[in-house]
């Protein structure tokens, strides 16, 4: 509880800091929206030649894309700087988190906020509502609840994954490339339904780097496509569980990383 209170105080200052750079907000907004419009146009061009991609219609793919980006938006709003953990190590600024009588994790987590998440959220919400209307969906409250839970799980999965990858830098000094690689796999999952890929890839994004739980699996339930999973239908409900497991794993790794840091030095 106390940690949470400290976190909010830190975030307040982080927001105050970010407000000093308002021009970045505009360029960030342009950047994020251009990127997403281009991505969706590419998907649109491909799918428009058919009626679907392996059984996924254009609007279903937009739905998939936007479910991912909604989860991602919270990540990029509050936790984006986890990806630059390596910079804190290289510049030696990580020391300051260990100098205080407070959890280094909370100190680090509350260090920055980013505008980009707002652009993601706006884009994701707009795309989602278009997809919802065009697909003629009518959800009852359980589905809406599940939808919110899926978004939150998506945020947590991406956050914990970034944290685990960031921790690699404690051993190798660098983690940026690993991060880009994971992000790339993540983007593959964002753009295309996982079932168009081969078995190995599907296994990887389900079991090893579980990014398919950010959008693909929950989307199957929300879009009424559970039959595609056959006896594996329950995977569709598993996102929150996966998020919890990831939290546990990343916490363990973080502790190991701190131990490593204090024995090797930055």
């Amino acid at each position: 509880m106390e940690a949470l209170r400290l976190y909010f105080k830190l975030v307040r200052i982080a927001i105050q800091s970010r407000m000093q750079y308002r021009a970045d907000f505009i360029t960030g907004l342009i950047g994020v929206i251009t990127l997403n419009v281009v991505n969706l146009s590419l998907i649109g061009i491909l799918v428009s030649r058919f009626t679907n991609l392996n059984g996924w219609t254009l609007w279903e793919m937009v739905f998939l894309y936007c479910l991912w980006i909604l989860g991602h938006s919270l990540f990029s709003l509050f936790f984006w700087h986890i990806r630059s953990l390596e910079d804190y190590l290289v510049q030696g600024t990580f020391d300051q988190f260990l100098l205080r009588p407070a959890s280094p994790f909370i100190m680090f987590l509350g260090r920055e906020v980013q505008y980009l998440g707002i652009a993601d959220a706006v884009f994701g919400a707009a795309g989602f509502s278009l997809a919802y209307t065009n697909l003629g969906l009518h959800w009852d409250w359980t589905k809406w609840l599940f939808f919110l839970l899926a978004i939150l799980s998506g945020t947590l999965i991406e956050t914990t994954l970034s944290l685990m990858v960031g921790c690699v830098a404690f051993w190798t000094g660098r983690s940026r490339r690993v991060n880009s690689l994971i992000m790339q796999i993540n983007v593959m999952v964002q753009h295309y339904p996982v079932d168009i890929f081969g078995y190995t890839f599907r296994a990887v994004v389900t079991g090893l780097i579980p990014v398919a739980f950010m959008n693909y699996y929950p989307a199957l339930m929300l879009l009424g496509k559970l039959d595609r999973l056959g006896t594996w239908w329950w995977l569709s409900y598993l996102s929150p569980v996966v998020a919890l497991v990831m939290i546990g794993l990343s916490a363990q790794l973080w502790h190991l990383a701190l131990q490593r840091y204090s024995s090797s030095g930055g």
Partner: protein, 263 residues
């Protein structure tokens, strides 16, 4: 010519030190190849005749685009932005070496390195993995190489212009997202221009971006041949010259401004 090699050697040295990073980069490119080839494969099983070329041609096109992803990494814009941020740009400007030439040498050096160490090996691996094809004949192969060099020059100058813009006004990170996604889109890195809806296609045909991926890759897979290929190379040449002049002009103005500010 000597400085080109100097930068290549340096790029080798810098990049090779981080071995983990190198392998990850390798895997990353390979994964992109995997993605495009699967997407095309799935689309082709649904309707083989919808794309105007054979599956093998299409996959070759896509994998080639991914192998040349390194093009986007070696532009001068990040270096320039970084030098401005740290204030080290002053020392660069004081060097008895034309800055534009310096950047060209640096980018080309890194490019040669990336081609040798990343593009070529990943393409070779992809070649066997995804069953790609060679250019139809020696002429096509040679034209492809010429076209590739010109494509690189176009991208370099666009990057230099972006770097110049960043020098005077903006923060590069968020702008670069818009820039790279637009370049990749209009260059036809993922999806060739002939699949664009007609209004978008006629627009994209005029822009310089298609020099970067679309023209070289089309020559490689044989959808641009003979007169058409030569005309496409002419198009690239014109853009290189136009961009060269524009860059010199823009840089001249920026340089004067930087110097008069006292750096």
């Amino acid at each position: 010519m000597k400085i080109f090699w100097a930068f290549t050697r340096q790029a080798f040295h810098n990049s090779v030190i981080y071995r983990v990073e190198f392998w990850l980069r390798f895997i990353s490119i390979f994964l992109w190849m995997y993605t495009v080839s699967w997407v095309w494969r799935v689309l082709y099983t649904q309707r083989p005749a919808a794309f105007g070329v054979s599956l093998q041609q299409m996959v070759t096109y896509g994998v080639l685009g991914m192998a040349l992803e390194t093009f986007l990494d070696v532009g001068p814009e990040w270096y320039m932005a970084n030098q401005v941020r740290t204030g080290a740009i002053d020392t660069d400007l004081m060097k008895p070496l034309d800055f534009h030439l310096h950047m060209l040498a640096r980018s080309s050096g890194e490019m040669l390195f990336s081609l040798a160490v990343l593009a070529l090996p990943t393409f070779t691996v992809g070649f066997y993995f995804f069953g790609l094809q060679f250019p139809a004949d020696v002429t096509a192969g040679l034209l492809f190489c010429v076209s590739l060099v010109l494509g690189f020059l176009v991208l370099f100058h666009l990057g230099f212009l972006l770097g110049t813009l960043v020098l005077v006004t903006l923060d590069i990170r968020s702008i670069s997202w818009a820039y790279y996604s637009l370049v990749s889109f209009f260059a036809g890195q993922m999806v060739p221009l002939w699949l664009f809806p007609s209004y978008l296609r006629s627009f994209a045909e005029l822009l310089p971006f298609k020099s970067i991926y679309y023209i070289p890759a089309s020559i490689y897979i044989g959808t641009l041949t003979g007169q058409e290929a030569l005309r496409a190379i002419g198009f690239q040449l014109i853009w290189v010259v136009v961009l060269l002049f524009f860059t010199r002009w823009a840089w001249g103005r920026t340089d004067a401004r930087l110097v008069s500010q006292g750096g």
